[in-house]
């Protein structure tokens, strides 16, 4: 046990550097994926049929493709098609392409749960489409979609570990370095699992608080 502690003290700075990168990747990846999901959501509701068909095909494709394979395709096969991205950019693109259809589905389900009567009522009192979206749909759909989105955010945070395979220097990449130096694979990986768990549990807890805050009006009602 003492040895394990020493390893974490000695390589602490390296692991922290990796953790910092993991946090940045998670934030940037989640933001990009969410924006892409909004675009997908809008495109799926487009009156133009070919666009809807493309969105459906893309969604089906992603739902059947492992994220690791997507990453390999972007990083190693991409240059053959003129797509030459750095490891971090490839990683972000992978996270975005992989998570946006799932997020779009969460958004769709939440929006669908809002009674259409409310939207019609908004239109009747003279609200434009923007006002309807901002004042009626978003506040409610946001709260409804949150649990599913948080699940996806945690999934995305965990999948950043895969990016280590193409030289993104996040927490798992650094852990491999530490293992190759300390020769204590079990102890080091178990300790790093604990680091992930503490961070992600905290994130989960914070998001649940936010959800409670956003849905407080429902509990105030009789």
């Amino acid at each position: 046990m003492h040895d394990t502690f020493e390893v974490f003290v000695e390589y602490g700075p390296l692991l922290l550097e990796g953790l910092y990168e993991t946090v940045l990747l998670t934030l940037a990846g989640a933001l990009c994926a969410f924006m892409a999901a909004m675009v997908l959501h809008a495109a799926a509701a487009s009156p133009w049929r070919p666009l809807r068909a493309v969105v459906r095909l893309y969604t089906e494709l992603i739902l059947g493709l492992p994220i690791l394979v997507l990453l390999y395709c972007i990083y190693f096969a991409g240059p053959g098609f003129g797509l030459r991205l750095s490891a971090v950019a490839s990683g972000l693109l992978t996270l975005t392409l992989y998570y946006s259809p799932y997020m779009a589905e969460a958004i769709r389900a939440a929006v669908a749960a809002i009674p259409s009567g409310q939207i019609e009522a908004g239109q009747t009192v003279g609200m434009g489409p923007f006002a309807v979206a901002r004042r009626i749909v978003l506040p409610q759909a946001g709260a409804l979609a949150l649990p599913a989105l948080v699940g996806l955010l945690i999934g995305l945070a965990k999948d950043t570990a895969i990016l280590s395979i193409v030289s993104v220097k996040e927490l798992s990449y650094m852990t491999k370095q530490v293992v190759s130096r300390s020769f204590m694979p079990f102890e080091v990986w178990a300790g790093v699992a604990l680091i992930y768990w503490v961070c992600l549990s905290t994130l989960d807890l914070a998001m649940r608080r936010l959800e409670r805050h956003l849905t407080r009006h429902r509990r105030l009602a009789p």
Binding site: D3, F76, R84, S167, Y173, S180, F183, P185, F186, A190
Partner: protein
């Protein structure tokens, strides 16, 4: 025992068993009783270890290994995994032996080595007419270099980087990948300006990718012996394999295999081959 309690057990082990000693692989007696020598291997390192068109594992070290196993009356069973997992798995007892491992002082503290089968010199691979003019570490300062994750060449570059920073120069940025072809692709795509790894492996890559105009610029660092790693708990297995390697050296088999795979023979130390530092 149900699955959940098994899961809880595994998790309890995660949190509590940090200090326990690894169970280790089988001893020579157990290996002989099984009749199978389990070999952990990353067959993406031609000519040392690779797969042929049918997917069969071949190469310089597998051929010696299979001959040694045959003499010991054993069959060889391969467990294939990326290099970054090989040493951890060996220490955890995932297999009995792993071939093609640079001998380093750091590793020798945690695993045992069979007497070396070859020597390795690292070299710098670059694109013809690129930014890399010479293969000394000073010439690489500030450039990006692709290496295989957790390998001796990577660790050597990290050490040279310390010298660079001590001399007030910019370190080499190291990008770690899982296989040599991935490092070569990163070089060819311009995501790295050079690759550092074993020279004979790089020469092989140059031959395979004539379309890319790659060039081995020169050597970097000293040469190190390459041997097979065995779990520290299996001293008698290490001894038995060492004896077999010595026999195959003496009867000229290993020399012939060096000609076959490298095109030349090498001087390989048999004693005191573990470096002090």
């Amino acid at each position: 025992m149900n699955l959940k309690s098994l899961g809880i057990l595994a998790l309890a082990a995660v949190l509590g068993a940090g200090a326990a000693a690894p169970a280790g692989a089988a001893s020579l007696k157990d290996v002989k009783a099984k009749g199978v020598l389990v070999v952990g291997i990353d067959p993406t390192f031609s000519p040392f270890e690779f797969t042929d068109a049918s997917g069969k594992i071949v190469g310089y070290d597998p051929e010696i290994l299979e001959a040694a196993a045959k003499n010991l009356g054993l069959k060889v069973e391969y467990k294939v995994m990326p290099f970054s997992g090989i040493l951890p798995a060996l220490i955890a007892g995932g297999f009995d032996v792993t071939p093609t491992l640079n001998v380093t002082a750091e590793r020798a503290k945690r695993i045992d080595y069979v007497i070396p089968t070859s020597t390795s010199t690292n070299a710098v691979l670059a694109v013809k007419g690129g930014k890399v003019a010479a293969s000394d570490i000073g010439a690489l300062s500030g450039l990006t270099c692709a290496v295989k994750q957790t390998t001796q060449p990577e660790q050597m570059m990290q050490k040279l980087n310390k010298e660079l920073t001590a001399a007030g120069k910019k370190p080499v940025e190291l990008l770690g990948f899982e296989t040599i072809d991935q490092t070569v692709v990163a070089l060819a795509d311009g995501r790295a300006q050079c690759v550092v790894d074993d020279k004979s492996v790089l020469v092989e890559a140059v031959g395979k990718r004539k379309d890319l105009a790659l060039v081995v610029v020169g050597d970097i660092g000293g040469s190190t012996p390459i041997g097979w790693g065995v779990n520290k708990a299996d001293a008698d297995l290490t001894a038995a394999l060492s004896a077999e390697v010595a026999k195959l050296k003496a009867d000229g088999t290993i020399g012939k295999l060096q000609e076959k795979y490298f095109g030349y023979t090498m001087v390989v130390p048999e004693k005191d081959f573990i470096p002090a530092q």
